[in-house]
């Protein structure tokens, strides 16, 4: 008998694609997609149920449909889509609490997969270069998505204590990036000129959207409990990434950062929450040894390749690497030619 999988957040790009990918899997009999709003795209064989996970109705769906695996992907990273920080927090934290409460009551449930983020490690100058899964943040994120993610993880751990028979897997993805995905980080790198914090250069790590999807799919199919960092190999410096996207940087002095961030937020160009500014100041790296050795997942993209793929999917900036390369070839060729003739 095949498995019945419930996926939350299917109306967002990522959840929807994950649900479709799970439908195609032979080990999965039935996929139920849940979200507050109807999906925009085609969900294929996914059975969509319009339900709010902040509402006890979700428990009826889980028990009524004999769900044995719950995949929670609806923790959202930026308030823009939800319509404000209050709604975002409610969706993330209260939604997760309700969902987990329903999971605890479901007798046939045997697996829970939660998509978290490396944002739980925070970002500060006292951080080690690479975080392993058992390290705690040096400076607790006090607001925004990072705090939500920490709280969500806390509730998930609570459930795994109370229901030891459920296999709980928590995947902490680095910044997911890709040509088709609309994320805060993606919008940041497509600004015509990219603001950075003057005097700092963050170490960034990316996870390609396909790797993020594949890691979730594989986790649903295989049974590996635990917490895992998911990221592409290697790192990019912020300055390096901006240059690769061919855009000029605008260094902003530290004291003016919050004002500039506020301006961007109010003009709805980009959203710089305090924890995102900290990340773009100090950067963060996560260790992926456990991902390889225990989870057995091998990302197809390195950080560099993931970013290159993201850049390919967007219009090149003013300082397009192609253009610079052509300028270099032109200049050296011209010099050489002139020197021969002159």
């Amino acid at each position: 008998m095949g498995r019945v999988v419930l996926v939350t957040g299917v109306s967002q790009g990522f959840g929807g694609r994950l649900a479709r990918a799970l439908c195609a899997d032979s080990g999965v009999e039935h996929v139920i997609g849940v979200d507050v709003v109807p999906p925009r795209g085609d969900l294929g064989a996914v059975h969509f149920v319009r339900a709010d996970i902040r509402n006890p109705v979700i428990a009826k769906v889980i028990i009524g449909e004999d769900v044995d695996t719950v995949v929670h992907t609806s923790v959202i990273a930026s308030p823009g889509r939800a319509g404000g920080r209050t709604t975002m927090k409610e969706l993330n934290v209260i939604g997760t609490m309700q969902l987990l409460a329903a999971c605890q009551k479901a007798p046939r449930l045997r697996k829970l997969v939660v998509k978290s983020s490396t944002a739980v490690y925070g970002a500060s100058p006292r951080d080690p270069a690479m975080f392993t899964e058992d390290m705690a943040p040096k400076r607790m994120p006090r607001s925004g998505f990072a705090k939500d993610a920490i709280e969500v993880e806390g509730y998930v751990r609570g459930l795994s204590r109370r229901r030891p028979d459920i296999t709980v897997t928590l995947l902490r993805h680095a910044n997911v990036i890709g040509p088709a995905l609309d994320t805060a980080m993606g919008r940041y790198f497509t600004l015509p000129a990219v603001p950075t914090v003057m005097g700092y250069d963050a170490r960034l790590q990316f996870c390609h959207e396909r790797d993020a999807l594949e890691s979730m799919r594989q986790t649903v199919v295989d049974d590996v409990p635990g917490t895992f960092n998911i990221a592409g190999d290697g790192l990019l410096m912020l300055s390096q990434a901006v240059r690769r996207s061919g855009r000029p940087t605008v260094p902003i002095p530290e004291f003016a950062v919050s004002a500039v961030g506020g301006f961007f937020r109010s003009s709805r160009v980009a959203d710089f929450s305090p924890e995102q500014v900290a990340y773009l100041t100090y950067g963060r790296g996560v260790d992926t040894t456990r991902m390889r050795d225990i989870l057995g997942f091998e990302p197809a993209f390195t950080t560099e390749e993931a970013f290159a793929d993201f850049v390919r999917g967007h219009t090149p900036g003013l300082l397009d690497p192609e253009r610079i390369g052509a300028a270099e070839r032109g200049l050296s060729g011209w010099l050489r030619g002139e020197a021969r003739h002159g």
């Binding site: 170490r203 790192l235 410096m237 390096q240 950067g283 270099e328 020197a339």
Partner: protein
């Protein structure tokens, strides 16, 4: 350089090292030799070895990185002495030709030809390749086409830029003498532990340079969190290969086979008053020893003499330091009285000695969790450095020579 007298005048247009001993060009020179475009005015191999043959002076000096140990820098002048005089008139002629040859005699200035000529003046006959390399380097930096490791270390920039910027300071200002280079392992992880002094951590930069130039390895430094909190400083530190001085990072670097440098005295050492010079402060909590024990790498004690005198710290402004959130605000005989001029280090004579490595692989597997072992080993390292410091001080003739 005992054979300085028998060095012939240049390589006589042949590829080779111009030492007179070699009759066949070195493999490096063969690949560099241009395919007979011009009668070689200047030998390409000279440019790379940087050995003075007296035939390239002036402009080419600017582009060449000063290489080789300090001791050998002064001597070749004797060798090139007899060769230098005929060079000057020829160079003048070259310049004249550039001016006279200009096409059209004032009817439009030929920029490209002038650039090409200038490039030839600067880089020699090999200018096309060198210019192409330089353009490619500039393109890589502008487009971000370079690699950094997981600590943010940018090896290309460090080797070509940072080290070249520090080299004159090390060789001509501090005239660093290095001993015990054989004690630095040529490969694999090792932990270099050194004394810290000098108000500003120039001693760490100099040790990094010495290791880079003479042991051909990158010294990966461990820095206090203040370093990474400060704008610009933290950025430069990460680029140069430094990371936070914490157990996790130290062990990670050592396990990857890096040569890691640590200054366990920290701010206590670097900000101590001048009257306490060359007395080691407490060596932290011995965290560096546990890291070495866990990764089973040798500890190389390193004693640095000379850094204490670059900025003699005679006073401190603790209240201003608290206000700024830094460990101390220094007062030296010249700072802040002379303003920016007082920020220039005094030209003390430096001696750096790398001691015999202390092996840690003979200890039991759980020795890193045994505080007694850690304390004893910490004391041993500290005592070794202290004794070497005293010995070096006796050997140094005076502070400045």
């Amino acid at each position: 350089m005992a054979d300085a007298e028998v060095i012939p005048l240049g390589a006589r247009g042949r590829p080779g090292r111009a030492t007179g001993r070699r009759t066949t060009p070195s493999s490096a020179a063969r690949s560099l030799a241009p395919p007979h475009r011009h009668p070689a005015r200047r030998d390409p191999a000279d440019l790379d070895t940087g050995r003075g043959t007296g035939r390239d002076t002036g402009l080419s000096e600017l582009t060449r990185e000063p290489a080789g140990p300090v001791e050998s820098r002064g001597e070749p002048s004797g060798a090139s002495g007899p060769v230098a005089p005929p060079e000057e008139p020829r160079r003048l002629l070259d310049l004249e030709r550039v001016i006279v040859d200009r096409p059209g005699g004032g009817q439009g200035f030929d920029v490209a030809a002038a650039i090409a000529r200038a490039a030839r003046e600067v880089f020699g006959d090999d200018w096309e390749r060198r210019l192409a390399e330089m353009l490619a380097f500039a393109r890589r930096r502008i487009t971000g086409d370079y690699a950094v490791d997981e600590f943010g270390f940018d090896a290309e920039l460090t080797s070509t830029f940072t080290m070249a910027a520090l080299r004159p300071l090390a060789e001509h200002w501090f005239r660093i003498e290095v001993r015990g280079l054989d004690n630095i392992p040529t490969e694999g992880g090792a932990l270099v532990v050194a004394n810290h002094s000098g108000t500003v951590p120039i001693d760490a930069l100099m040790t990094g340079l010495v290791v880079h130039d003479r042991a051909q390895r990158h010294l990966r430094m461990l820095g206090a969190d203040l370093v990474f909190r400060l704008p610009f400083v933290g950025r430069l530190a990460r680029r140069g290969g430094a990371t936070l001085a914490c157990g996790e990072d130290a062990e990670r670097m050592l396990a990857k086979g890096e040569l890691v440098g640590v200054w366990p005295e920290g701010f206590k050492g670097i900000g101590k008053p001048f009257k306490e010079r060359y007395t080691l402060q407490r060596f932290g909590r011995g965290g560096f020893v546990s890291a070495a024990l866990r990764t089973r790498v040798p500890i190389v004690p390193c004693s640095i003499v000379g850094a204490e005198e670059i900025y003699p710290l005679v006073g401190n402004l603790p209240s201003l330091a608290r206000l700024l959130g830094v460990p101390y605000v220094p007062i030296t005989p010249f700072f802040p009285w002379l303003g920016p001029l007082g920020m220039f280090p005094l030209p003390s004579k430096w001696l750096i000695e790398f001691g015999e490595p202390i092996r840690t692989d003979a200890f039991a597997g759980d020795a890193a969790d045994d505080p007694m072992v850690v304390f004893n080993l910490t004391d041993q390292v500290r005592e070794t450095i202290q004794q070497t410091l005293y010995a070096l001080l006796v050997q140094r003739r005076s502070v400045f020579f």
